[in-house]
């Protein structure tokens, strides 16, 4: 150390901190930004080391040589800073070979010019030894390319600082500390450089930038050790948030303030059969289901019945305004939650509650009353008959309830789709077997398609209801099937007394009350079964008497193309 100028001794402090920080950064590879930060610090150390060698060199030629070598570090710093900032903040999609090559063009040109001896004075027009009280260094007269590189350095520095600056306002304290330390580490040499270029340095011709690297090194060391820079990086957050949006099981649309679709996630594309490439930029009313109903205000809307790839499902839509940092609305977010399962579960609880609270209680009261009567009149045949019938109804209710539970067992794997013909034939055979007097008619042409197996329980319940509640001497049932646009329509008609309007209303509204409720569980099984497969059930009166129940169900093995027509209309 003896014989070193005071400036060299000061610069060696920057070498110590810079080298240390570079090693710590290198240690963190392959974490986001580690390699580029290592290169950034290596560039600073390189610049500083060869400035020391320049200061300590005895001849103009030697000083000029070490001055030229410094350019490697000089051009490395801004490139590494930009790439570090992009990668560290999760913008690694920009850190591609092409981009890296592009930002390296100007530095490479600089190094080539310097390596060629700068024959045209592009970088340095003239140089002379300047002996000062702080050391003997080379005083250069910058050429035009020198200023180009200076501007380029500032440009890359500013671009890189933008994402880092955003982290200063981040809600996570570690990232605030990291970004603050990084900005201090970066600002120090820039300020020094600006001071140098403005001619405000007390020692004329001395570029104090490398001196400021001591501050940078301390700041980076602090960021690495105290704020766990590179160990705790924000890089994955951007990807993670994007991943959540993309992988969310609920369809999401982003609509701009002008009413055009800006983005949609994969689920939205799949569920609503939308082509993402063409949907973006389209009017929201043409792409986003029931968008007209979402335009007023925000919050939860629905449930809305929407036909998608999974059939007709009830959706509750959460609408939120997307705002910028100033609180200005820049778009709207619509998240579609499929609440079908939830609604059915609620209905099941209500129905089961009613079954226990009303149906079974009524039957047990009946049994209790007539068994009391049998105590006093043991031979009362009617009382005995009532008790037996009541017990049979309880048993039947129990079987239906079990069937409903089996139908919605979330654990069991769904059965494979069944041919419509099989379902109809099985239901007809069951009817003929249980009620031999029943007249069962099946249409001649049953479509050769498959439907979800759940429909079997639905048809069986509809058929048995048609006969069981029919007071005709020879109940008649007509079963028909047809297809259209990827859907199957099954209609079961009877000549019975019809379903009471109150009972239909309960099914339509989906809510039972102590005063308004269905009888039994059969029609609920129909409703739940159809809704589970994304279908729809409707009731109509039959002339002169009876009911026609129509079930619309998606084909079980239909391709997307076959059903595309069914989902093309977002408002359907």
């Amino acid at each position: 150390m003896i014989g070193l100028s005071s400036l060299s001794v000061a610069l060696l402090a920057a070498v110590v901190t810079g080298t240390s920080a570079a090693i710590l950064a290198w240690r963190e590879r392959p974490d986001a930004g580690a390699t580029w930060l290592s290169l950034l610090l290596a560039g600073q150390v390189w610049w500083t080391v060869f400035l020391v060698l320049e200061l300590e060199a005895a001849t103009l030629a030697a000083k000029a040589l070490w001055y030229d070598v410094q350019w490697v570090g000089v051009v490395m710093v801004p490139v590494a800073w930009l790439l570090f900032a992009l990668e560290y903040t999760g913008r690694d999609r920009y850190v591609r070979p092409g981009v890296v090559a592009a930002v390296c063009v100007a530095p490479a040109v600089t190094l080539l010019v310097v390596a060629a001896g700068d024959p045209y004075g592009l970088v340095v027009v003239d140089r002379e030894v300047s002996d000062t009280m702080v050391g003997s260094f080379l005083r250069v007269d910058p050429g035009p390319w020198y200023y180009v590189m200076a501007g380029y350095t500032y440009l890359l520095g500013i671009i890189g600082s933008v994402p880092i600056l955003q982290l200063v306002r981040d809600e996570a304290r570690p990232f605030q500390g990291q970004s603050a330390a990084l900005l201090v580490g970066t600002a120090a040499p820039w300020i020094s450089s600006i001071v140098y270029l403005s001619g405000a340095v007390p020692v004329p011709g001395l570029d104090p930038t490398p001196l400021a690297f001591a501050v940078s090194g301390v700041a980076y060391l602090l960021a690495l050790s105290r704020f766990r820079l590179l160990t705790l990086t924000p890089a994955p957050r951007r990807r993670a948030r994007q991943l959540v949006f993309e992988q969310l099981h609920d369809p999401v649309f982003v609509v701009g303030t002008e009413g055009y679709v800006l983005d949609l996630n994969r689920c939205a594309a799949e569920v609503f059969g939308v082509d993402r490439r063409t949907a973006i930029g389209e009017a929201a009313t043409a792409v986003v289901p029931h968008y007209d109903e979402l335009q007023t205000g925000q919050g939860d809307v629905g449930p809305l019945s929407i036909v998608g790839e999974n059939g007709r499902r009830p959706y509750e839509v959460t609408v939120r305004d997307v705002t910028d940092d100033h609180g200005r609305a820049v778009g709207r977010l619509a998240v579609y939650h499929d609440v079908g399962e939830y609604i059915i579960q609620q209905q099941r609880l209500n129905v089961l509650n009613r079954v226990f609270r009303h149906d079974i209680r009524t039957e047990t009261n009946l049994i209790q009353g007539y068994t009391d009567r049998l105590e006093t009149t043991p031979g009362d045949e009617r009382a005995l008959s009532v008790v037996k019938e009541s017990a049979a109804r309880i048993y039947q209710l129990s079987e239906r309830t079990k069937a409903a539970s089996d139908l919605f067992d979330p654990v069991s794997e769904p059965d494979p789709p069944l041919p419509v013909a099989t379902i109809i034939e099985d239901a007809a055979a069951d009817l003929r077997d249980r009620w031999p007097r029943a007249q069962v008619s099946v249409c001649d042409e049953v479509p050769d398609v498959r439907v979800p197996a759940t429909l079997q329980a639905v048809v069986e319940n509809l058929c048995s209801n048609a006969v069981q509640h029919n007071d005709a001497d020879r109940p008649s049932v007509w079963i028909e099937a047809s297809t259209a646009d990827g859907w199957v329509e099954l209609s079961i008609a009877d000549d019975g007394p019809g379903i009471a309007p109150a009972e239909r209303a309960v099914l339509t509204q989906g809510v039972e009350t102590p005063l308004e409720h269905a009888s039994g569980v059969g029609l609920w099984i129909v409703k739940w079964g159809v809704e589970t497969i994304g279908g729809r059930v409707s009731f109509a009166d039959r002339e002169p008497t009876g009911t026609v129940v129509t079930v619309s169900a998606p084909m079980g093995d239909a391709t997307e193309g076959e059903r595309s027509g069914a989902v093309a209309d977002p408002g359907r």
Binding site: M1, L4, S8, L12, A13, V15, V16, T17, G18, T19, S20, A21, I23, L24, W26, R27, E28, R29, P30, V45, V49, V52, L53, E56, L221, S225
Partner: protein, 370 residues
């Protein structure tokens, strides 16, 4: 850093040597953390002892001793070796021993922190220390290397290059940098040349090209690289700092440290011969047997003796210095004679380094006497 920056250290029985250079027998995987630089004092725990049980309840003084017995001790030995080189070369005392000591401390500290998991069985206290204070040790190591570089800058470009040499060797030798580069290059080349035209041994994982191993996983080459890097730094740094021209003595001193380093590297392999053979790792003792290896190492020390004596006859070394080196060689021969004959696993790890301290003490004594 655990997986990609593991410089030289051998996690077998807690002993290590500055020149240890091949993967441990217990972990032959190319990507496994292995070591070449070797710790010295801490003995392996008893068989059957849980890995983490030994450190439990270790007091601060015990941990401090474990730390001091690791990188600081190796750094001390390296500094003494540089002092020996300084004396042999006849140059003035410079900061070279300090620089070498700092670099050694940094490299081995990083290694110990990186290999903490692998070292848990062999050096539990040091491993515990590395796990508990890994970050602090890394900062200390980084500052140590930074200070060494700064000091080297003051010594000029050659001193700087020599100071960076161990670090650069470490990067291409022990870390996964070289395999990473190999994979990247392999992938790029595979994109141009169809896989079917590649030679046998290539895999899909490396882009259809052969896996590029770390240098530390290449037998013989690893020993040569380590020995050459350290010998060059030890020998040339005093010259660079002194700013004198390199004479023929430099080559002799380099040969001395290079050959001695080779012996130091192979002695622990004698200790590990059974384990190495069990996992198919080829070392001199595995290939030639312990007895022949012992004689081979005697021969290497004999070559060292011949080289040093010849240098003295040629007037390159003063005879008192040659006598000091002779004491060290005698100690080395004694240690070599113990190879395969002692059960204390730490002996072959610590004793070779102790010979340098012995030589340093004798030279100091010679200087004091006049």
């Amino acid at each position: 850093m655990a997986e990609n920056t593991d410089p030289p250290s051998e996690p077998l029985d807690g002993t290590e040597s500055l020149n240890r250079s091949r993967p441990p027998a217990s972990d032959p995987s190319p990507s496994a953390s292995a070591s070449d630089a070797p710790a010295r004092h801490e003995a392996a725990p008893p068989a059957g002892e849980p890995l983490d049980s030994a450190p439990t309840g270790v007091d601060a003084a015990g941990l401090l001793r474990a730390f001091a017995a690791g990188a600081p001790f190796i750094a001390l030995v390296a500094a003494v070796e540089t002092l020996i080189a300084t004396a042999l070369l006849g140059v003035g005392l410079t900061v070279a021993p300090l620089v070498v000591g700092l670099v050694t401390f940094a490299v081995y500290t990083v290694d110990h922190v990186a290999d903490a998991d692998a070292d848990a069985a062999s050096t539990p206290r040091r491993a515990l220390l590395a796990r508990r204070y890994g970050d602090q040790q890394m900062v200390a190591a980084a500052l140590g290397y930074g200070l060494a570089v700064a000091l080297a800058v003051a010594g000029g470009p050659l001193a700087l290059a020599l100071t960076l040499l161990p670090g650069a060797c470490w990067v291409v030798y022990a870390s996964d940098w070289l395999p990473d580069v190999g994979r990247a290059v392999g992938g790029a080349v595979a994109a141009v040349i169809p896989r079917g035209r590649l030679g046998s041994g290539s895999t899909a994982a490396d882009g259809g090209y052969r896996h590029v191993p770390r240098l530390k996983d290449v037998l013989v080459l690893n020993s040569v690289v380590v020995a050459a890097a350290w010998a060059a730094a030890l020998t040339l740094l005093p010259v660079a700092f002194a700013g004198v021209a390199a004479g023929p003595a430099v080559a002799v001193v380099f040969a001395y440290f290079f050959l001695r380093s080779f012996v130091d590297a192979e002695l622990p392999n004698v200790r590990d011969v059974e384990a190495d053979a069990a996992v198919g790792v080829e070392t001199l003792p595995v290939v030639f047997g312990v007895a022949r290896t012992r004689w081979l190492l005697y021969g290497v020390d004999g070559v060292v003796a011949v080289v040093v004596t010849s240098a003295a006859v040629a007037g390159l070394f003063a005879w008192p210095l040659v006598a000091a080196l002779g004491v060290g060689l005698a100690a080395s021969l004694f240690v070599t004679s113990l190879a395969g004959r002692v059960d204390d696993a730490s002996v072959l790890g610590v004793a070779p380094d102790g010979t340098y301290l012995l030589v340093g003490a004798v030279i100091a004594g010679v200087r004091l006497i006049g």
